[in-house]
Amino acid sequence: MHEIKFKVNGVEQTASVEPRLLLVHLIRENLSMTGTHIGCDTTSCGACTVLIDGKSAKACTILAVQANGKDITTVEGLATAEGLHPIQEGFKEAHALQCGFCTPGMMLRAVELLEKNPNPTEEEIRWGISGNLCRCTGYNNIVTAIQYAGAKMRGAELPSTEPEFV
């Protein structure tokens, strides 16, 4: 067993873990934070995406021991006392989620994307989230949600989220 020390959503945590324990299970089972999901066993779907020191990473392919000394952000850490994170607001406004299973991972991936590129084009967004699968939305509205969040974070004019279903 290994003793590890890390931060999750700003809170110091310690854990005694088997070397083989996956980070996603540390988060879900040991810490009972179930917003981080598991959708595959091959690092393909991105449902388990979290931020490690600000970088998006798939928690199903990282060992818990690798989190030692790291600062992890999960979906539970996005909202603050002031309210929802712009990406959360964007997902709701633009109807960018249906079943909600891929949503936490998709949002965390988008947070890093916007951190690096505050005003991405549609193509940059599509490539930027291509490591995260969504089976429900067809991605159109996820693109809009990320544009919305980017605009909000830059203080720019918000794009329309009205359905173009005319």
């Binding site: 088997e18 083989r20 299970h25 879900r28 009972s32 934070m33 179930t34 917003g35 981080t36 999901h37 598991i38 959708g39 595959c40 066993d41 091959t42 393909s44 779907c45 449902a47 999960t74 979906v75 539970e76 996005l78 909202a79 929802l84 959360q88 997902f91 709701k92 406004e93 109807h95 989620l97 249906q98 079943c99 909600g100 299973f101 891929c102 949503t103 949002m107 549609e122 967004i125 599509r126 490539w127 989230i129 291509s130 490591g131 995260n132 699968l133 969504c134 089976r135 429900c136 939305t137 067809g138 991605y139 159109n140 509205n141 996820i142 693109v143 359905p163 173009e164 279903f165 005319v166």
Partner: protein
């Protein structure tokens, strides 16, 4: 523009109100089955067969049982003692829970390991030693009826070959005659391959049997919790687990698409083990297990023919299907429909003669025949008719849009009786196609295409004008295991005018918590925000058959409207009493009754409901609640006109979907934002089988792409930016004039894409390609044709 009868604050039909369920999902507070954690819970993992067809000579669990934390290893022989080693399928066939002697497909469940953690369960699984004697599997449906084919189901009395059933509909003699006399006959063989719904959440459960109370609580990923409760009672009644002792809870579901309708062996093993140990048992599939062993969709070999005149009038169609069902018929169809609703395949066209037949066979593939976001085999049928219509257009040298206009059923001809027995409720196919052609600028595209062709560039335009059939279904024809396919709503309005409504369906992302609230808001004028929606708990929700086949709005949505109208009738009586007028003097506007000619003399719905608890009229029952079980008089027939534009690279044959315009008609629209979202998602599950997805097996029965590394679910990069729109032709028989919509795009998109690709390749003389159409398949085809 969609006209709304209610204010935005009430948020009835037609308003794009934001979803109520989103708050928990965007904050990581959804409650999916793997989030359920109970005290003393044990974990189950499943040993699976590496062979497609083999005798089990021995199962040695001793090494597994030596691992600290492994509690038990369960085999078919163990279940046999309780007569739980086989279970019925929804199509009245039988399926192994765990095998006692033979495995019938690769990845079949062979034994279950129960342990104190999921890691130890996996260790135990690796340590179980199974001695197999492999046999040569039957993987080709075309060889299933050969004299030397191995007999797949010797366990079934009287089963002497691998034929499951024969089905037919239509007038064979009349059809043969039209074909014999026709100017033009076109035919094509089409294979609609085996694919998998691959919802991002896999399947799983927590079975919690309480020995003291003799009570089972089953948390599971199911689209039909009530039906599952009844099935469990039918299977386990003999061990004392009767229906009132079973509670099925379907928590938040991470996508269903049909894959969460069947009962999988894992669920049954978990129940059996919880029953025997008294501990809660959690079983969660991993992705590879999900792709390799859960029910598949499609796998239809179709010969389709069309007869017509040389000036392009369709006169008849003939379909012959060979259906590969794997080792058991575990389809999820209504009982009387072995091919599902395949007989919708005569399409949107006005002709009176058709004949369809199908034969199903057993092979060494996993069981199934579930939907992939479609109303029971409609996708296979629509693909065949929309492709053969294009082939016919080419043969008679007509533009495929023009040929469709000339053959459409006219809007004034509805209700329209199809040659295979359906009565289409309503439609305006011409308006839809016109709108799609205007949006895409069809004529300009054809000019551009002609110019590109001169320069040797490959560009294609494909059309699909499909008719769907959803909302199963009228009780005279539709049942599952004898239970009629009605659905239900129960509305309770509290004294302060806020409501809770419960349903027999179960959302898996469709947004029922919002749209059902909007239906109640529309009918009662209570703001949608004050209508709480609950589904998925069989202890509290009224009985219903669940959510699949786009049936929620056609059935439970209708039930909500009818139940709300019962309440409005009661409200009218109370209002008349309060205002001291007769009921005939009252008029309704959303949210209140007022006296005709004196609009100031009014009672709001909130005042009326309060009175139902505090001051109800003498002789009237107190309270304000209603339940309705809605038995639809007919199915609903949504339709769509889709146009796809592709560019294909001349050298790599990479296919780029440049534009995709989808005009859907689902009748009256409850929430345009949600309908559009459904269409986007459905279209993406349309491009998926058209260009990317297929489960591939080799001759030994090995699945060659059973993980997300190689089963290609489209990402945001493969998915085009969808362009959507609508026409509205209300369903005349549905209480709110709505039709289903969630699956239309999955049904309608693949032939539009295939037609576009074939149109691009028609310069080489290509007339058909089977889906998924990939650059490699194009290269291979052109090579075979000697064109490159």
């Amino acid at each position: 523009m969609i006209k709304c009868k209610t204010s935005k604050a009430i948020g009835g039909m037609g308003h794009s109100v934001k979803r109520k369920e989103d708050a928990r999902f965007i904050q990581g507070k959804g409650n999916y089955v793997d989030d359920v954690k109970l005290p003393g819970m044990l974990y189950m993992d499943i040993v699976r067969s590496p062979y497609a067809y083999a005798k089990i000579k021995n199962i040695d669990a001793s090494k597994a049982l030596e691992i600290p934390g492994v509690v038990a290893v369960v085999t078919g022989k163990d279940l046999e003692k309780y007569n739980l080693h086989w279970m019925p399928t929804l199509m009245s066939d039988t399926q192994m829970v765990l095998p006692t002697d033979t495995v019938m497909y690769q990845a079949q469940e062979v034994a279950a390991v129960i342990a104190t953690s999921r890691y130890i369960a996996r260790d135990g699984k690796e340590a179980v030693m199974v001695d197999y004697e492999p046999m040569t599997p039957l993987m080709d449906a075309h060889k299933a009826l050969d004299a030397d084919a191995p007999l797949m189901r010797p366990d079934k009395e009287g089963q002497t070959n691998n034929h499951i059933w024969h089905w037919e509909v239509g007038d064979k003699e009349a059809t043969d005659k039209v074909f014999a006399d026709a100017d033009v006959v076109v035919k094509e063989h089409m294979y609609i391959p085996r694919i998998h719904v691959a919802s991002i959440e896999t399947c799983g459960c927590v079975a919690n049997y309480n020995k003291v109370e003799n009570h089972l609580t089953m948390y599971m990923t199911t689209q039909a919790p009530h039906a599952i409760r009844t099935v469990i009672a039918l299977v386990a009644g003999h061990v004392g687990l009767t229906e009132e002792k079973i509670r099925v809870i379907s928590p938040d579901i991470g996508g269903g698409f049909g894959g969460k309708v069947p009962v999988y062996p894992g669920y049954v093993i978990a129940i059996a083990v919880s029953f025997l140990t008294g501990a809660p048992i959690k079983w969660i599939e991993d992705r590879s297990e999900n792709l390799q062993a859960d029910s598949f969709a499609r796998d239809y070999h179709i010969d389709v023919e069309m007869a017509g005149t040389k000036d392009g009038k369709i006169q008849a169609t003939r379909f012959k299907v060979l259906a590969d069902h794997g080792y058991t018929d575990a389809s999820a169809n209504p009982s009387k429909f072995p091919t599902g609703l395949f007989s919708i395949g005569t399409g949107s066209y006005d002709y009176g003669t058709a004949f369809m037949e199908a034969d199903a066979v057993y092979t060494n593939k996993p069981p199934g025949g579930v939907a992939y976001r479609c109303s029971f085999r409609v996708t296979e049928a629509v693909h065949a008719i929309e492709r053969i219509t294009d082939i016919f257009a080419k043969e008679v040298n007509k533009d495929p849009a023009q040929l469709r206009f000339e053959n459409f059923i006219k809007k004034e001809d509805f209700p329209w009786k199809s040659p295979t027995g359906w009565e289409y409720d309503s439609g305006d196919y011409e308006a839809g196609l016109k709108k799609a052609m205007d949006a895409v600028e069809y004529d300009k595209l054809r000019i551009e295409q002609a110019e590109k062709r001169k320069k040797g560039k490959l560009m294609g335009i494909g059309i699909s004008t499909f008719t769907e059939v959803v909302g199963a279904g009228p009780s005279k024809d539709f049942d599952i295991l004898g239970i009629k396919m009605f659905d239900s709503a129960e509305i309770r309005v509290h004294p302060t005018g806020k409501a809770i409504a419960r349903f027999g369906t179960k959302s898996q992302g469709q947004g029922h918590e919002t749209t059902y609230a909007q239906i109640v808001a529309e009918e009662l004028g209570i703001p949608y925000e004050h209508v709480q929606i609950e589904e998925g708990d069989t202890d509290t929700a009224p009985y219903g058959l669940g959510t699949y086949a786009s049936r929620s709005t056609p059935t439970a949505g209708a039930a909500a409207a009818v139940a709300a109208r019962k309440l409005r009738d009661k409200a009218k009586k109370i209002a008349a009493y309060l205002l001291e007028v007769s009921e005939e003097d009252l008029e309704w506007e959303p949210g209140k009754f007022f006296v005709k000619g004196a609009p100031d003399k009014a009672k709001t719905i909130q005042e009326i409901v309060f009175a139902a608890y505090t001051n109800h009229p003498p002789g009237m029952e107190a309270g304000f609640e209603a339940t309705h079980y809605y038995d639809p008089p007919n199915l609903t027939f949504p339709s769509g006109a889709y146009i796809c534009v592709v560019d294909i690279d001349n050298e790599t044959f990479e296919i780029k979907v440049r534009r995709f315009v989808a005009i859907d008609d689902c009748g009256n629209i409850i929430n345009p934002m949600i309908v559009q979202g459904q269409v986007h998602g459905g279209l993406t599950q349309g491009i998926a089988p058209a260009m990317y997805e297929e489960l591939i097996y080799d001759e030994q029965g090995n699945i060659l792409n059973g993980t997300f590394m190689d089963y290609l679910v489209p990402t945001a990069v493969e998915s085009p930016s969808w362009e959507t729109g609508h026409t509205i032709t209300p369903s005349p028989h549905h209480p709110i004039g709505a039709k289903g919509v969630g699956e239309s795009p999955t049904v309608g998109a693949p032939p539009a894409i295939a037609n576009a690709i074939v149109d691009a390749l028609s310069v080489y003389g290509v007339t058909h390609m089977d889906i998924p159409i990939t650059p490699y398949k194009i290269w291979k085809k052109l090579k075979e044709m000697g064109k490159i």
